[in-house]
């Protein structure tokens, strides 16, 4: 049985059925993304100062991916034009180019951008004294003048928040390069599979609010001398690995010597929490600071649970990336021999299929055109 109006337009709509269908589908997609965009706006406007940490985003990676997706949008329409000109070889060339661009977008996102965030940590402190001790160890005695400006830029670049947030709640960010266990033994935490931005410290978690406290506010200790957790199933790396202190390498770009002129005069001083210089890693400017568990209020990587910003960031970019992935699968199908047979049997029908795929792909590009400024720049 032949399905009607696959090649020729239907008289009442003026469109072949596939085209009418894809526009209705795209309308539902607009509503889907419109819903999450509107949720983003609501959460963003309602966020407290200092909680919208979008200054932590890597804008260059976002801009690179934007250009990649723009290129794919142009190549996919070129593939369709080639079919209109009965040029199968040209179609394959442009379609493969689109698949390569799309795959590059996903590789950048799923193997670099997200993992780099899952291994990048924030530490907040239990007290002002603990925060002062750590910030002094990282930036020196004059840390207050030098740290605040950089912190403001990273953690809420659009709001003046310094006067509203206490030092202990200003997260110090960096990479975990080691830890000290309860017996005082030091353990290194290196890169995974030899890839520098993939660390074995992947989505580590610690949150003091999960610990059981006594009525006087001090921590409840178990018979084994270890802290007791409140009822519930908490993923807690400090418990699992018996961590008494972490060794943190403060992040590039904000805390290291590249920002000397920016952050203040003189070299950035690094030392451990006791005030002694600690060169843990091989590079000279990669110095570390040791932070005791009791001084840590919360340790979180830039995972969805980190903050409302990152929760919405992963929701939006994850949903978009799934669309990119689906588009790649469909485009690969169009490059299989079976698709060539469809083209030989009915070129117009196949060309219409490619137009429909292209419409979907342009929509994916459209969503990113708005996601990039909203998530990375504004």
């Amino acid at each position: 049985m032949e399905i009607p109006y696959n090649s020729k337009p239907r008289p009442d709509t003026g469109l072949y059925n596939g085209k009418a269908g894809i526009w209705i589908f795209l309308a539902s997609e607009i509503m889907l993304f419109g819903g999450v965009f509107s949720a983003y706006v609501l959460l963003r406007v309602g966020a407290d100062p200092g909680t919208w940490s979008m200054g932590l985003m890597n804008k260059w990676v976002g801009a690179f991916n934007t250009l990649i997706l723009i290129a794919s949008s142009a190549t996919v329409v070129m593939a369709w034009v080639c079919l209109k000109l009965k040029d199968w070889t040209g179609f394959r060339k442009w379609k493969w180019a689109t698949v390569v661009f799309a795959a590059t977008f996903l590789i950048v996102k799923w193997s670099y951008e997200w993992p780099a965030k899952f291994t990048h940590y924030d530490v907040t402190f239990t007290s002002q004294a603990a925060a002062e001790k750590t910030y002094k160890a990282v930036l020196g005695e004059d840390f207050a003048e030098r740290q605040t400006d950089e912190w403001q830029k990273r953690y809420d670049p659009k709001n003046d928040i310094l006067s509203k947030v206490q030092l202990k709640d200003m997260p110090l960010d960096g990479h975990i390069v080691g830890y000290v266990d309860s017996q005082g033994g030091e353990h290194k935490v290196g890169s995974a599979w030899g890839i520098s931005f993939w660390s074995h410290a992947f989505v580590w978690r610690y949150d003091r609010k999960n610990l059981q406290k006594k009525s006087d506010g001090t921590l409840q200790m178990g018979e084994d001398g270890k802290v007791v957790y409140k009822k519930g199933d908490y993923k807690d790396t400090f418990r699992d690995k018996d961590i008494a202190a972490i060794i943190l390498m403060p992040a590039h770009g904000t805390w290291d010597s590249h920002n000397e002129g920016h952050a203040g005069s003189g070299a950035v001083r690094y030392a451990d929490a006791k005030g002694e210089s600690a060169a843990y890693a091989s590079h000279d400017h990669h110095k570390t600071v040791t932070i005791q568990r009791d001084d840590i209020s919360r340790l979180s990587s830039f995972e969805p649970a980190h903050s409302t910003f990152f929760a919405t960031y992963y929701t939006l970019t994850g949903l978009h990336a799934l669309h990119v992935f689906g588009g790649i699968l469909v485009m690969l199908y169009h490059l299989l021999p079976i698709s060539h047979r469809v083209y030989e049997n009915d070129p117009e029908r196949f060309t219409n299929r490619i137009e429909i795929t292209g419409l979907f792909w342009h929509f994916v590009d459209l969503v990113w055109i708005f996601l990039f400024p909203i998530l990375y720049l504004l």
Partner: protein, 122 residues
């Protein structure tokens, strides 16, 4: 599309030029937005939002008009009615969310419905 727009000459000539033009708009728009952010052109956040979203709308319009062929296809009722309904839905949804926040900023109003305050650190 009219019959003229189906001819091989059209696709080989004018339409390819249109594709390159839209590609240029997209690249230039991205670079301008990114450069404005890096250089800190806008001190005022609202101005930055208006600028960035205006550029995004121009880029999106070019993609929709040419790459998605809406410049030629919008005449079909199936498409424009569908898009019009979607637009109304979107505006309504944004009105409810953004509008509620705007209302809460007016004198005498207090927004207690959506409170995203962090839990106090003990």
């Amino acid at each position: 599309m009219s019959e003229d727009h189906h001819s091989p000459e059209y696709y080989r000539g004018r339409f390819k030029k249109l594709i390159y033009s839209v590609g240029a708009i997209l690249i230039i728009g991205t670079i301008i937005t990114f450069a404005a952010d890096l250089m800190g052109v806008f001190d005022n956040f609202i101005h930055a939002v208006i600028f960035a979203l205006s550029v995004a709308v121009i880029k999106a319009s070019a993609v929709v008009a040419v790459f998605m062929h809406l410049w030629w296809d919008i005449k079909w009722k199936t498409i424009w009615v569908t898009l019009a309904c979607t637009f109304v839905f979107l505006v309504g949804m944004m009105w409810l969310t953004v509008g509620s926040e705007v209302d809460s900023m007016k004198p005498g109003h207090e927004d207690s419905t959506w409170n995203h305050t962090q839990e106090p650190v003990e």
